[in-house]
Symmetry: C2
Subunit: 92 residues, 2 copies
DNA sequence: TTTATAATTCTACATTTATCGATATACTAA
DNA sequence: TTAGTATATCGATAAATGTAGAATTATAAA
């Protein structure tokens, strides 16, 4: 990977975290091992379609991954290595 | 400072860095101790008014500071402590 | 199969924002 | 004072984006 690519990769990650809803999602997942979209919906005051939109972006930039499916539930996890490579998240 | 405030503060910093031009400016300043707007203009392909706009945002979120004025030159520096508290910048 | 639930995708809309030219401000030198 | 230069601010515009309702897909249970 060249400099320009890694630059854009970092930009994507910071842009993903530079939005209050998405940073909330990530912080929540840092405390919960794994969560489904509806479990996140219970904790944060947003519609499922909105959360789905944000989850997609967080997966695309590598901050999260879809780790497991059980029935209709999709469980997401933090990619801790990706996070560690770019950010220092302050605990709530 | 409460949780919500520190959350918003982190969001501002990540949002500031989640834009290619601003991340370029910050990386440049990490290598140059201090730089003026026109010195940055020499290295990055943007107009002064655009850079001024970005520098303002980077100062507002605490990533940079206006460290020194000499004549009409305004020299900016990285706030390394702020940066260290929130991000791990990959070297170019 | 039908019904219900979880998640995603689609569509629309309002808001934000990156960029840059024009203008204004601040400082220096002649 | 006048001219020149460095920044900052203003105004306009095109593009990106967060949100949520509607529709769609996928899975499970009755």
């Amino acid at each position: 990977m060249n400099k320009e690519q890694s630059h854009q990769e970092a930009v994507k990650i910071y842009k993903a975290l530079g939005e209050p809803t998405r940073l909330h999602i990530v912080k929540l997942l840092c405390k919960h091992d794994e969560l489904s979209c509806s479990q996140i919906e219970e904790q944060l005051n947003y519609k499922g379609s909105t959360l789905s939109h944000h989850l997609k972006q967080l997966v695309e930039c590598g901050v999260l991954r879809l780790a497991r499916k059980e029935g209709t539930y999709h469980f997401y996890r933090v990619n801790q290595d990706t996070l560690d490579r770019h950010v220092v998240l302050q605990p709530d």
